[in-house]
Symmetry: D5
Subunit: 170 residues, 10 copies
């Protein structure tokens, strides 16, 4: 009954196209909703930065699957530990697109489709939401302007996450 | 002369119906008002999460009665300790309904009846008040979306309580 | 040259009537004004809760007089210590009435008379002011709804005082 | 998987004799050993002060049994909460006798019998051990010299426990 | 059930002689032992510095008696408040003599008599014990070399007390 | 290169008249502006309370001059130490008048004259500004209502200063 | 260049025998020595509890290998994060045996063989060392007596580790 | 992968004219943008105060170049260390002019030219921005009114920087 | 009744010889003993570093005398403030000689003479004592090896003082 | 008058031989002694790790010289800031040799020669001293076993320094 938060970085496999990203997000929302994982996924077409919050065993299994998923390469754990509360309790998987990364930015209609999930009737907010992050927001915690989550420290990835959570809370 | 706060989880007995919930709340308000216990009761038709604040002996006696009340099963203490001030000093028993649990939500007229208690003339606020909690509010401190207070840690149950107290203070 | 704050509880003698309360407050304001004591007096016709702030020797002498004053019985010190600043520097003796205790509540004209002290011309605020406290405000720090200052802890009496000081400050 | 510590006070039923105390301790050691509860029991022939450490559900069940055990009366919870480590991990039930309470003090041969439990072969220390507490040790945290655990505050009962744990650790 | 510590300073009445000091200490030990007050008395033939630890009401009554005791003059409260533990739980009234104040120093046989109290058989330590304080020990917390407890601040009187408690503990 | 803050109290010499106060403030502003001292001067015709902020040697020399200035008597240091930032960086010498002390209150035209210093062209704010302090503002940190800076403690003089700095900052 | 510490629990595959444990430790020491990983391995023939300290990428790769190693099952991350210093800088892989788990305890000659690594000539201490842990040492941080690292919290696994590191440091 | 912040003071070489300052800023923006250094440059025609944030090696190389740049003299490090986040992530080099130093203040059209950098299309804010600092803002942390960054302490330079960062964020 | 500590640096006047130092110390001991000032004097024949502890007004008067004493030049306050306890309560004026400064080091017989003060019979320790300080002990808190107290910061002078107080305490 | 500590890493130029190291240390001791810099130098024949403590301008000049010294390459600042006290006040330049780096380890007679500096007669300890560091001591704060100071973080270099300072203090 431990509640944990896990943040990792990974590199997108070369062969991924637009519909792959759609699938990753859609499956992630579906799976997380079923296993009560919440979190956010940030990608720019090259790298992923993902946060998973949930029960310890459930999050470990999800991470194990990701480690063996050919679409993710060079997976690196940035931060992990028990938490007393979630940052993303309102989203099964919040979606963060980099402002200059067209390939990773979801088209409005796709997101609309993903957000309109009718599965949880008592929750007025959608299961996913999309926000945009600028280079400066990332640079604040990193040594490089280009979105490269491998450069984030444990504290930096957590601080960036808290900034994003505030944007999500809007 | 110790002021304590006690939070416990329990499971509603199978045979409870709508009027049983009414009775539990009504009796709770009446008894607490007489013994200067304040607090809140959260239920969804299946589980109870209750907070009791008051004099140590009085709260222990109330908890002892609850432990032997056939309507409560699998009672588990989540948090207990001396406090310097109450969170719910304005309500004999605040009522919290889950947004999706129709069975546990009090009908307006019932609540009106409960709230209109004329016993304490110098207090403009009623003895009870009803607020609603969403799955996401609960999920923030829990590993599961379904309202299951047994999953709450000591710190988590206290943090959820403080969130609710702010809504009550509204 | 020590600045101290003293809080005590006492029981009103049986033979006190309305004009006795007027006298207690009037004399208190007069004496405190002369000896630079500030503070507040809370009474409900049965109990007194009083706070005295000022020079250590002066406050000790005032407390010694109170201990031998037949109008006060069962006097009990709740809190005492050096402070770096006063909570009630603007009132020689703030007056706090319980909302349901008609006997202890000063009539407007009496208060007006007490407040109109012309002795300190450069101070636009009166020497005394009257606010009202509800049962719930007291219950927040106590095990009982009835105003019974003997039930307050050291920390509780200080916290209640700070709540009242905020009301005084408006 | 929550590790909790629970401390309660109770009054010994009138009809208890020496062999009852033996039985309480022996059964307690046996049960705790089976359910991985650790702790200590302090009694003087009139009052009990007991600490239970272990898994949350297991400790709650033990406490529920105690509440319905006719040998315990006026049971009052003093302290309860999650802990990151146990104070009494080396004893299934440490035994504390008051120096002046002959009736509650175990006879050496009885203790020897209790301590010689061969069930846990890799553990050189016995499941139980007996230490003595003086009135002054108790008075340090209490308003009265007589051993009366009902007088202990939450913090006081924990501090006394830590003093005893140091004596146990020897 | 509040445990408090009270420290006050007073001036010895002019007409006190050696046997008066004996009496004060003897009666103090007797009374405190009966009401579970512990503490220490420091005197030099001119001033008293006394610490009382115990139940709030009991300590207030003792202080009220002292305020009306003609042998004490100019009584001034130095420190008062709830405490989680006592400093002097092993002595009904520890006795502290100034090294240069012959008049206040108890003769060995007198102390022996006082210390041999057979009332509390299970306590190997005596009810009273005598230690000596130098001018330098007092000067550490005071603006003057001469023992004058009126010069002590709240914090200073507590710090001096803790120094003395360590000496008592040996 | 140490930045220090010094606060002292002094008594105005008997022979001072209105133009003397004008001169003290005017010379103070002129000298401080030249040596980059900032601060505030509070006087009521009887006492001075002054704060000086600046380089350690410069402030020491200014204080040495004040100690030998016949217009200041009974000079007493209240607070002194290195600081990481100034409270009065915008005023060469802020002027604080007591509301009831006509003699010390600068006439508007005099202040206007003093404030209109054209020496520092890039600074839109004047070198000096005048605010008023009430008895209650002073009483908050003092044992007496009358403005007597000798009664202020180190912490009290600093806290009063911070209150005044906030008023200056408007 | 991030230095991290990772602690995980796993279940030994059924088909492991004594020489498998030898191999796991020997290979672990060899690999860690080459990649500057330090840490400790605790096993009882059924479960593993392992701590890895080193460069972030190197530790992530080691953990990824372990996740795909058929000898480890149900791998669960307990604690992970950047650290400013290592706990086990003197051992490539410290070995901890449970006192009652004969199957996992290395035979002296095997350990001797492992410890006698001549590769690092300037380091007088061996690359590995073996200590023993009792049930009570584990129970201190766990809800069960049986060695089951899945029951450890993040904080508990770290605290147990620090206890072990002290034993290693001897 | 260490993120550091470096603050230094230097003296402008005598032969610098207006176009030199333009060049310094322009080249600084260009270089920093390429190497992901952010920061701010403050100059008054005589002294420079500069802050550089970025990857440790990159910042060290930039500082090494500055140390050998004939336009900078008497270079002195004021503050240096790893940081978890940048203060100036939105500007390649913020520009701070002293209000009274005409020579160092960039002409609007020059700044406009510098700010209009089209290189980073996804960032709506310019690479540089110009704010003005008054003598009082500097005096707050310094012993002298004249802008002389050599007088700033480590803490003072950091505090001034944070004040400026707030103005930039404005 | 404020207890303060004052530390200052000064330069010895040129015309001082050995017997002058003797006189300064002897008079200092005599005066301080009379006014209950305690402290230490450190000199090397060129500079003085002195600490004075005592009642605020008394210490201010002593400092005022020093400021007008022709034997002291360039007097600079290093540290000043209220303290809860003295560092040098056992010495009217501790004497600290630099190990290499023969001129300032007291001859044994002179010190013996000074130490043998019979004025305070109940105090076994002398009014003064002499210890030696090395360059390294001073350099620890200073930028220069030569004893130059003007180089000490507020914190540095206090830390050096605490080091010396420990040496005095032996 | 700022006291600072600077730690940097550098790479030894290829052409350095044994007598070069001797010269570096000898000149360093001589220069530092003259400018009151203290510190330590750690080298293994390939890398240098050096700490410099002293006046801010003096340390900056020393660092500037080092940056232009062809014997040092790839110089990188690890840590820099004001300090309240020195770690190495007793050594002009402590010398730390890696246990396995024969080339950098000073021969006893060379060190003896360096240590026997007669310049500072009142200081019994030598200007330099040599201690040895193992790989494990370095590995504690680094990701690699090989001595490579570029891998140290700000905090790591400070912590290693404190470990070494303790060894020096021995």
């Amino acid at each position: 009954m431990f509640l944990v938060r896990l943040i990792y970085a990974s590199t997108s496999a070369d062969f991924l196209n637009y519909s792959d990203y759609q699938k990753i997000l859609a499956v992630s929302i579906k799976n997380n909703s079923a296993s009560d994982i919440t979190g956010m996924l940030c990608c720019d077409g090259r790298y992923f930065l993902q946060c998973l919050e949930g029960e310890r065993q459930v999050v470990n299994r999800a991470y194990s699957r990701i480690l063996n998923d050919p679409r993710h390469q060079d997976i690196m754990l940035l931060s992990y530990g028990e938490v007393s509360s979630r940052h993303f309790s309102e989203w099964s998987m919040g979606y963060v697109a980099l402002s200059s990364s067209a390939s990773a930015e979801m088209k409005p209609d796709v997101l609309l489709h993903l957000l309109g999930s009718p599965e949880d009737v008592d929750k007025p907010k959608p299961n996913a939401v999309s926000i945009t992050i600028t280079h400066a927001q990332f640079l604040k915690y990193s040594i490089k302007r280009e979105f490269d989550p491998y450069l984030l420290s444990d504290a930096g990835s957590l601080a960036l996450l808290e900034d994003l959570a505030k944007v999500f809370a809007g």
